[in-house]
């Protein structure tokens, strides 16, 4: 690797909505600059797509350094820094953007701007990034570049006269994109002589080398063997390995201001090298860290309990291991009379929660009971104390409380105008407060509501998608706490209160939620040999009740003509269902029941 002058470095990221072609464009840039061979590209491209489709999120490329000889004959180093594509990770996005001077705004020429894109563009503008609009998928028959240009200009206020028309898939416009990066994205400031400050924008845990930290050197120079200090975690490490990403890791002796690279220094957990932390030299530390570092703040909580009590220690170990790689994950032991020993876990958002659950089940082979997600309530007590409750079953008695406050978020939705009605209806039914509505362009409207987070973490996103037939997109951010007349709704199965099913709801909705919950439970809990009453109550007042009739028979009449396969499948399905049953008193309750509150219509 030759030493590159700061003036010839360009650091940029790509902002795009899911499916608007970010990965394809990134792959194409790597290919065109010869960073990755065509053969390697094929494999990588396919893997990315499959995973993306499965989870609906962008799999991170993290970063890639590309060498590019411009039309002016000069050699440039282009660093592409990837950003996660989901609202749960907006802090991580902001740190990635802080490491760049420019960004490609990639918009599907047939779809237009989506809420998520918008949120990230605003973040990029906050960081004074040069934004280059790219209209992708220009080759598709439905492409309407002029409409989408107008939309970008109107919504974001970004001049689109120079917007690049591209098709990453077909290789159209790639050269123009590379030239624009060289000419429009400003070079980093040359601060090579100043004390070292490097911004961590990503990290992951490698079992052999410890945490691998991805960073951008903002000031000064960093060399292999240097002793560094992390200014937020106050830890010090000797750098064992230093390198660049192309996109595979290639070791290098030194990196200076403007460059992007990785390091390994026997760091034991990503918690010790958090995204946003500043790396400086232990011997000659910078005066102040880079701005913008914040602790991870979980917004959504749920209880995780092993189906089999014997797996509690395994669950603890699995959570410990996941946390090595996920500083935002929080957990603490929780004991529930109904569920036994488990953990109360905190997540950045719903997607983060789902990813963690799935990894625990897939990678650690644990059978888990997950309780419905909850948020943190602020409870003001009569004695003047203020406490935070992340578990509805811990809510103090009404006699002790003065008020309950709940977190609110601002939700921005972008939708074709024909779905404005249904989305307003949805937002109203979730206790939303209307804030704003703007007609952006023909057929596109933004809708802004303030909503209790508790209403958003249930199935709001799914409902928004289904009521807009998939066309609407949304983004949300926390705006503070508000007092509301909230009550604790208990669910009793066969007379026993089941604390994982307890929820905190608005008083006016308690009857509706209670009724819907017991009806849902009636569907989900299998019949037993006895009649099972189901009740929803506020305190001692029953607001809704149902019962599950007793099982009278469960027998297969015949296995006709020796063909046993179908009957066997039935029994196997039944057996599989039993694996997910949790005994609550004498009633076996399936895992889905604990998420029932999410499935209410």
């Amino acid at each position: 690797m030759t030493d590159v002058p700061v003036s010839n470095i360009r650091n940029f990221s790509i902002i795009a909505h899911i499916d608007h072609g970010k990965s394809t464009l990134a792959d194409r840039l790597l290919q065109t600059t010869g960073t990755v061979s065509n053969r390697e590209m094929k494999e990588q491209f396919l893997d990315n797509m499959e995973l993306e489709r499965e989870r609906g999120i962008t799999i991170k490329l993290q970063a890639a350094r590309m060498n590019y000889r411009g039309e002016d004959g000069q050699d440039y180093v282009l660093n592409l820094i990837d950003t996660p594509g989901h609202v749960d990770f907006s802090y991580e996005v902001s740190r990635s953007l802080a490491a760049c001077e420019g960004a490609l705004l990639v918009v599907d020429a047939s779809q237009g701007v989506e809420a998520q894109t918008l949120a990230n563009v605003y973040l990029a503008l906050e960081h004074n990034l040069e934004i280059i609009p790219v209209l992708n998928k220009i080759d598709l028959p439905g492409a309407e570049p002029d409409r989408v240009k107008g939309e970008i200009e109107e919504i974001i206020g970004l001049d689109c006269s120079g917007a690049i028309l591209a098709s990453a898939k077909e290789g159209i416009g790639i050269h123009e994109i590379l030239e624009s990066i060289v000419h429009l994205v400003p070079p980093p400031q040359d601060t090579v002589q100043e004390p070292l400050r490097a911004l961590i924008f990503d990290s992951y845990y490698d079992p052999y080398r410890g945490v691998i930290v991805y960073f951008r050197v903002m000031d000064g120079t960093l060399k292999k063997g240097d002793r560094v200090r992390l200014m937020a975690s106050h830890k010090e490490y000797q750098i064992d390995e230093l390198g660049i990403l192309s996109p595979n890791q290639i070791q290098i002796e030194a990196l200076h201001a403007g460059e992007v690279g990785y390091l390994a220094a026997a760091i034991k957990s990503v918690e010790d090298a958090r995204v946003g932390d500043t790396i400086t030299l232990a011997a000659a530390p910078a005066k102040a860290p880079l701005p913008g570092y914040t602790e991870a703040k979980p917004m959504v909580f749920c209880g995780l309990f092993p189906t089999d009590a014997d797996d509690f220690e395994d669950l603890r170990e699995a959570l410990e291991k996941l946390r090595l790689n996920d500083a935002a994950l929080q957990y603490e032991p929780e004991t529930s009379s109904a569920m036994g020993f488990g953990f109360r876990c905190g997540f950045l958002g719903l997607l983060h929660m789902e990813i963690v659950q799935e990894r625990l089940e897939r990678e650690y082979d644990l059978d888990l009971i997950t309780t419905a997600p909850s948020v943190i309530y602020k409870v003001r007590l009569l004695d003047g104390d203020e406490i935070y409750i992340d578990n509805p079953s811990n809510l103090p008695d009404p006699q002790k409380r003065e008020a309950i406050e709940e977190p609110y978020v601002q939700v921005d939705m972008i939708t074709p105008e024909e779905f404005v009605g249904p989305l307003m209806e949805l937002s109203q039914s979730r206790r939303g407060v209307f804030k704003d509505m703007k007609y952006l362009t023909q057929g596109r409207t933004t809708l802004t509501y303030e909503l209790p987070l508790a209403e958003v973490v249930t199935d709001f996103f799914d409902q928004m998608k289904s009521r807009s037939r998939g066309y609407a997109s949304m983004e949300y951010h926390l705006i503070g706490y508000r007092e509301n007349p909230l009550v604790k709704l208990d669910i009793l199965i066969n007379g026993d209160p089941v604390d994982p099913l307890a929820t905190i709801v608005h008083r006016d909705k308690a009857y509706y939620v209670g009724k819907a919950l017991v009806e849902k439970l009636k569907e989900l809990i299998p019949r037993h040999q006895f009649k099972i009453p189901l009740q929803a109550s506020i305190g001692s007042r029953v607001v809704a009740s149902e019962h599950i009739p007793a099982l009278r028979k469960d027998v297969l009449a015949k296995c006709y003509g020796g063909d046993i396969s179908r009957k066997k499948k039935l029994l196997q399905k039944q057996a599989k269902g039993k694996k997910r049953l949790k005994a609550i008193g004498t009633v076996d309750v399936p895992q889905e029941a604990f998420m029932a509150v999410l499935k209410l219509q």
Binding site: Q529, P549, L551, R552, K553, G562, D563, S565, L570
Partner: protein
């Protein structure tokens, strides 16, 4: 016992030139074929002789109409068609015989043959005879073999039944289903209550006392009183055997479109559970043994063929949709005639060997449990341990403890069985627990 004078040639049924060249040559079907002999060696190397099948099932898919509860692989031929006149029935019988010829014999003669359907009583006497002759020549049929045939009231006359008996049929299973006109009608059955005693008389006149009646509980409009009446009428016909099936509303059937299980006009679940108990009470008092979840027999008249299934022993299966279990290979044939004919060609091209993985011991154990616990005899844990190993069998008895306590399972080690009627009624609860333990 099988009339050897009928010439087992295929030409009578050959309506399809395309496949004519695929028929085995005379030399192949007159003596055990070379292919079959080779197969015999190959199979003998992997399965002990006691694992060779002694039971054969032949599927005769033709029905006048499709009953509203039926999801079996059948072909509807209308009210007039019979084997004597229908080209498609003749073509199918020819195909069936080709399949028999292609199936390697393992050298044990058949102890049971079962003509199931569909409506086998739509076959001509010659067709039944030809099929039995083919089986006899390919595998041999033991002199005392049980040869069962399913028949529907109103689909056969005296000459048919006498002919079937002459061809070797010695056990009849009569599809009565119900004794009430409205219930029969609600099922889309073609017969009326009046056809039932007529059919039984025809069977008796042909000299057969070994016959069974099929009844379905839980049919539309059925009440406990009417069910009691049905049971009494059935007993009055003095059958040797009774099959009592609780209606299952299978997806895709007319019933599934019309009815919701447990809701009117279908009887409620507690009513059908009571019907099950009532049948058990009434029939056992009348001298029937409740030997399987859905089957009752006078002493000595259990269905040997069905016991092969329940004891998880091997059997041949022939015809569309038919299942076979040979050399641990469990195989289900295509469920339409067209697909079955095509498959038959590939079978012939492959020299009669099935492309099908063997059932692994773990799966075999599940099969053995699911089938064996249907029998009043239950299962012997020592025998299971010998076959499947201590590690797999040891956890079963502890898992059954709660069921033993609530009286659904009776354990007199090494024997375990479901109790009658309560254990039988909840057999899936018990079985799915055992399945879960083993998964």
């Amino acid at each position: 016992m099988v009339d050897q004078t009928v010439n087992p040639k295929f030409d009578e049924a050959d309506g399809c030139d395309r496949t004519a060249s695929l028929y085995p040559s005379i030399s192949q079907w007159m003596i055990p074929s070379a292919v079959a002999a080779q197969e015999k060696v190959a199979i003998a190397a992997t399965a002990p002789p006691e694992q060779y099948p002694v039971a054969a099932y032949l599927h005769i898919p033709f029905c006048r109409r499709r009953c509203f509860y039926c999801d079996f692989p059948i072909s509807v031929v209308g009210d007039r068609a019979r084997g004597e006149t229908s080209g498609s029935i003749a073509q199918y019988v020819a195909a069936l015989r080709r399949e028999v010829w292609m199936t390697p014999s393992l050298g044990r003669s058949l102890q049971t043959v079962f003509f199931g359907g569909g409506t086998p009583s739509l076959l001509s006497v010659e067709q039944v005879d030809a099929l039995l002759t083919t089986l006899d020549q390919q595998f041999g049929i033991a002199a005392d073999a049980e040869i069962s045939m399913e028949m529907d009231p109103g689909t056969f006359d005296q000459s048919h039944i006498r002919g079937y008996v002459a061809a070797g049929v010695n056990r009849i299973s009569l599809g009565v289903q119900a004794f009430q006109a409205d219930s029969l009608q609600a099922c889309g059955r073609t017969h009326t209550p009046a056809d039932i005693p007529v059919a039984v008389d025809l069977i008796r006149q042909a000299g057969l006392e070994n016959f069974s009646l099929d009844l379905i509980s839980g049919l539309p409009h059925l009440t406990l009183d009417r069910w009691q009446d049905s049971l009494e009428r059935a007993i009055a016909l003095a059958p040797a055997h009774l099959s009592i099936y609780d209606l299952t509303v299978e997806p895709g059937t007319t019933f599934a479109q019309r009815y919701e299980p447990g809701e009117a006009p279908l009887p409620a679940d507690d009513a059908t559970a009571e019907m099950y108990r009532l049948a058990q009470q009434v029939l056992t008092h009348s001298g029937f043994q409740h030997y399987e979840i859905s089957n009752y027999a006078r002493p000595g008249f259990q269905c040997g063929h069905n016991r092969v299934y329940w004891e998880n022993r091997p059997y041949y299966g022939f015809g569309m949709g038919a299942a076979s279990y040979v050399n641990h290979q469990r195989f289900s044939r295509p469920r339409t005639r067209r697909e079955y004919f095509t498959w038959l060609e590939t079978l012939e091209a492959a020299g009669g060997s099935l492309d099908c993985p063997p059932t692994l011991p773990k799966e075999r154990l599940l099969d053995t449990l699911m089938l064996g616990l249907r029998l009043a005899d239950g299962l012997n844990l020592d025998i299971l341990t010998a076959e499947f190993g201590e590690a797999a069998i040891a956890p079963l008895l502890p898992r059954l403890q709660t069921h033993i306590e609530r009286g659904w399972v009776e354990a007199a080690p090494p024997r375990i069985r479901l109790t009658d009627p309560e254990g039988f009624l909840f057999s899936n609860v018990v079985l799915s627990d055992l399945f879960e333990t083993l998964s």
